[in-house]
């Protein structure tokens, strides 16, 4: 049988691998993890000590000063800012270039712009111009992709050698070469702080962020051209003096003709006039005294019977929660036609007429003052109070009934004079007839009695 080829597995191969592993172990013991370093760290000294060092090279190969162990809750940015405390301050205060760049979730990490292991003289900031999120600084490069001569802009075109600085004088310098007359005029009108209005996303400055000022452009205001409010202003000072009250622009739109004041935004939103939410507070504290009918005439179910000041009974929370004040009734309560409102509440089914106030008070239906606790109100089938009380409820007479004619009464009482028999209740307090002791009393008959 022929011997098979030995292949790649051989004792010498395994020994060679073992020797190399031992050598690498010795190397790691002597030099530490630097054996895995992809390149030397920067030795560029800033002259300022950060974390006790003036350059990254001074870390001496201690990887964990910058690199984060997999089990640590830190990230590399945390390690960076341990030494670069000035950057940490910028990020916390949102100031400076790092503060601007760290304003939202899509912000680049430190590694996004800064590199290392590129050698002792290697660049520490390597920014990909095309990928740098310049808009996070508050200024987009959308309108500065190419110079007027054609080539793409480079960072140095605007920033010079220090990318963290920007002198706005470069704006005027460059734009003067494009249109010197316009640039001079524009600068004279609006000043040299170009970034106050221009954010770079559009070439003509229409990306101006009006919300940076007190008057926010919300709703329909957002769609109004600058000249809709700022006519014919041509300077920053004139722009700042533009009136900001509603009425300064909308007086012509006021259908209330000033009757509801001049703060339109008390009821109206900026989106549209038609969906106003009326705020009665514009009427002042005393709503009850206002002429509600000037707005609510169409909704008055009383058809004007209770006047125009709805607030006397209703509140602004809703029509249904009214509290009727009887003081609104003209004349005496007793003479009022209560049934015009209370017909549905009349448990007497109209027997006692329409003037409930003759017996009842306005506080409740109970507690009637009719005083018929002993004498039945339906005595003899009486239908109306006036049968017994022709001159009001303070007095009564029994002679109003056909049975109690003066002649009949006189005959019943043995021929006494009619006038001496007028106070029937003295003997007939319960309205009973002649039987028993009732009606046998010896009291003096004094004419018309008092049933109180």
């Amino acid at each position: 049988m022929a011997k098979k080829p030995s292949g790649s597995v051989s004792a010498t191969g395994i020994i060679a691998a073992g020797v190399l592993l031992v050598a690498l172990g010795v190397w790691a013991g002597l030099a530490g993890p630097a054996m895995f370093s992809p390149g030397k760290l920067s030795a560029k000294a800033t002259g300022v000590k950060l974390g006790g060092m003036t350059s990254h090279a001074q870390t001496g190969g201690s990887c964990d000063i910058c690199h984060v162990e997999p089990w640590s809750s830190d990230d590399m940015a945390t390690r960076c800012t341990r030494c670069h405390t000035d950057v940490a301050t910028e990020i916390q205060t949102h100031e400076g270039v790092h503060g601007l760049l760290s304003r939202n979730a899509s912000s680049p990490t430190c590694r996004g712009c800064h590199s290392e292991h590129l050698g002792a003289d290697g660049a520490l900031t390597v920014v990909d111009d095309s990928k740098f999120p310049h808009e996070l600084t508050g200024y987009s490069l959308a309108s500065h992709q190419h110079t007027i001569k054609g080539p793409a802009f480079t960072c140095k075109d605007c920033h010079g050698t220090d990318l963290s600085r920007f002198d706005q004088a470069i704006c005027a310098t460059c734009h003067s070469s494009i249109d010197a007359k316009f640039t001079a005029s524009h600068k004279a009108s609006f000043g040299a702080n170009c970034l106050l209005c221009h954010k770079g996303s559009t070439p003509d400055g229409t990306d101006f962020d009006h919300d940076a000022f007190a008057f926010k452009l919300t709703g329909a205001h957002a769609g109004v051209a600058c000249s809709g409010c700022h006519t014919p202003t041509r300077s920053r000072q004139a722009l700042s003096l533009t009136p900001q009250t509603c009425y300064s622009c909308h007086a012509k739109d006021d259908k209330h003709r000033g009757s509801l004041g001049y703060k339109c935004n008390s009821c109206h939103a900026t989106s549209t006039w038609s969906t106003a939410t009326f705020n009665h507070s514009v009427l002042g504290s005393n709503v009850a005294s206002k002429d509600c009918a000037s707005c609510h005439a169409d909704t008055d179910i009383h058809e004007g019977a209770f006047g125009r000041q709805c607030g006397q009974c209703h509140n602004t929370g809703g029509w249904s929660r009214a509290l009727f004040s009887h003081s609104r009734l003209s004349g005496s309560l007793a003479s009022a036609d209560c049934a015009s409102c209370h017909a549905g509440n009349d448990v007497h089914s109209g027997r006692f007429g329409r003037q409930c106030g003759q017996c009842h008070s306005t506080s409740s239906w109970g507690g009637s003052s009719a005083g018929h606790s002993a004498f039945p109100a339906n005595h003899g089938g009486a239908q109306t109070c006036s049968t017994c009380h022709p001159s009001g409820t303070k007095t009564y007479t029994c002679y109003g009934c056909h049975e109690h004619t003066p002649a009949n009464v006189q005959a019943e009482h043995g021929g006494r004079s009619v006038s001496s028999l007028a106070n029937c209740l003295q003997c007939h307090s319960g309205g009973g007839g002649g039987g028993g002791h009732e009606g046998r009393g010896s009291g003096e008959h004094r004419g018309h009695g008092n049933d109180d």
Binding site: G7, S10, A16, A17, V19, L21, A34, V68, P70
Partner: protein, 178 residues
């Protein structure tokens, strides 16, 4: 192209393809993709897999001796093709930067590559037909090939050991320790 040189043609094609990708990226970005970039890592990983396959697949075929897996010459051609393209990809992965252990792994790659090329020509120098061959010449060729194998295999082990440690270090420091 000679039938027996077909592996060199495939190797040339693979090398040209990788080179084209890198030239395009260089033209666009102005720099070679760093070893730690997505493209750099991809090329490095594929190159390493080629190198491992080049070594192991051929050896397994030789050990198995199973002719149903195809003739040895095909496996040898694959071994040569991947043995050329793999190291090329590993070297281009380095983007010209050689530091620390990565530099040792790159150096070993070059050494094993050269050794492999030498071995390939020693292998073809051994006559396959016994008739008319000078026995002394045959013995010399076989001895040379055995000597080469005694050197090449330890070099290969050394290469893969250094690559293994380099990959482990890269995974830990450049991937886990961000």
């Amino acid at each position: 192209m000679s039938k027996h040189r077909r592996e060199l043609g495939f190797a040339g094609l693979g090398i040209a393809l990788v080179t084209t990708v890198y030239v395009v990226v260089y033209k666009v970005t102005g720099e070679l993709p760093p070893a730690s970039s997505a493209l750099g890592h991809t090329v490095g990983i594929i190159g390493t897999i080629f190198m491992i396959l080049s070594q192991t697949a051929y050896s397994i075929r030789k050990q198995a001796g199973n002719t149903r897996w195809g003739p040895m010459v095909k496996w040898l051609q694959s071994h040569v093709m991947m043995g050329l393209v793999g190291p090329y990809m590993v070297l281009i992965h380095s983007a010209g930067k050689f530091n620390g252990l990565a530099a040792i792994a790159a150096a070993m790659t070059v050494i094993v590559l050269i050794s492999g090329i030498v071995g390939r020509y020693l292998y073809t120098a051994v006559p396959r037909e016994i008739e008319g061959v000078n026995p002394e010449h045959l013995a010399k060729a076989k001895k040379a090939l055995a000597t080469w194998r005694a050197i090449h295999i330890p070099l290969t082990w050394t290469l893969f050991t250094s690559v293994l440690v380099h990959v482990a270090g890269a995974l830990y420091y450049a991937t886990l320790q961000r």
